[in-house]
Amino acid sequence: MTACIFPGCLVAYRFPEYEKSASLVLDALGVHQVFVDCFTCCGSQVAESADDMFLSALGARNLAIAQAHGVDNVICLCGSCTYELLCARERMGNPFNLARVNEMLKPEGLFYDVRKPLHVKHILEVLDALPGRLEELCINKIRIGAAVQEPCNAMRPVHLHPALEGRCSLLHGITSWSGAECVPFEFESRCCGGTMLAFDEAVGMDLASLRYHALEKCGAQVVVTACPNCHSVYYVYPRAVDKTYGRAGSRLPSAIFLTQLLGLSMGMSFSEMGLERHMDRKRLARLFG
């Protein structure tokens, strides 16, 4: 298996620590990775709202770039990227679509070959498939209370994730391998609402506010995410929502990426996990000792 991480634009723009911690955790698990420096964004729901033809062509182009780097597994860090790349791969199963896209790719010397196996998975699915190895590596059990926010498109729609049919949570189980105790959080599987922030910020903030109230009451010390959209809701927006709703500096649990938590549990350092860049770094340093 030769894998590459598909960062997507939000990770590339705002959360390099997610990519770094994911890469280190995958390294520790023995997943061979190559670095691809020329992926574009997946297009996400923004392009899907405007031009689904361009969206699929762009997705297929990213898949062709992965193949040109000798990759057979594309590991996404974002739920939306997972969904859009899987949709593009599905559409390229139609020979007419494929021929058109390969015609578009010709001037760049790219070619998407559907005969070559190319898996597209969210990192949760990759980690979920390696439970024994991961549990064995998580030597420092971190005894904290954690709320989790499942990334929607990492598991849905079911027809794109046949291997996950019948599963209602991935993040819950993987988080607990670190030693953290998952506390009940009302919105765990009810979407973070993050993509609404791109189309209608007011509605996005209303959704976020509901989640913040529930988080404040649930008794968690951290909120674990596995998608940059969810992370934006719990890391970037709390201050903006406080301002909008006139709330005085709420103290939400600190948002942390799953791979940062796993890395710490594997014995990697606070700085290796990029946590010294975290806005709540003092609080987290106390929490993780």
């Binding site: 634009c9 939000l10 590339a12 723009y13 390099p16 620590e17 990519e19 890469s23 670095f35 420096d37 020329c38 992926f39 574009t40 964004c41 297009g43 729901q45 923004v46 392009a47 899907e48 709202s49 405007a50 031009d51 689904d52 033809m53 361009f54 062509a57 762009l58 939306s80 969904y83 139609n94 007419f96 679509n97 058109r100 015609e103 790719l105 010709k106 001037p107 760049e108 929607c152 498109n153 849905r156 729609p157 079911v158 919105f187 009810r190 979407c191 609402g193 993050g194 993509t195 609404m196 791109a198 189309f199 209608d200 509605v203 209303d206 959704l207 509901l210 290796e272 990029g274 860049r277």
Partner: protein, 150 residues
């Protein structure tokens, strides 16, 4: 606009039993209690921009409909031209076709990557390649101006 997709949506909607499972599953309904998700198939006045794309509606539908996909088909229809959301999308699309990213990934992002211990992204190459790709995309789509096959 893809008229075939819209027509297919109307036909598909006729299978809807109006059981309300999609509305119950929809997170938007938490803040808009009067919203009825399956009304996307009826269309008149339905706002397709109120969707966080979580796919929960599709996962609970007893007859296998996907209201979320229908909302995106509706977003792409002419009816929503010049709405605020559509204008915002247009700005993002210009960025995407010019730079390869929706967000301004550039030198600052690469400085942060280096600080974090990651290799830089080839932003200039991406910007130059995506422009070529957009030209080819337009040329090919002009030649074969039909939608994607299923």
């Amino acid at each position: 606009m893809n008229w075939v997709a819209l027509y297919e949506g109307v036909m598909e909607g006729s299978r809807c039993r109006e059981c309300g499972a999609c509305s119950e599953a929809c997170p938007i309904v938490d803040v808009y209690p009067s919203r009825v998700v399956h009304e996307v198939y009826v269309r008149r006045g339905f706002d397709p921009w109120l969707c966080c794309s979580c796919q929960r509606c599709a996962s609970v539908c007893p007859v296998g409909l996907n209201p979320r996909d229908e909302m995106f088909t509706l977003r792409r229809s002419l009816q929503w031209k010049d709405s605020n959301a559509e204008k915002q999308v247009a700005v993002h699309m210009r960025n995407l076709k010019k730079r390869g990213f929706l967000f301004p990934v550039g030198e600052v992002s690469n400085d942060e990557r280096l600080e974090t211990g990651l290799q830089p992204i080839a932003c200039e190459k991406i910007a130059s390649d995506i422009k070529k790709f957009v030209k080819c995309f337009d040329r090919v789509m002009e030649t074969f101006a039909v939608g994607w096959g299923g």
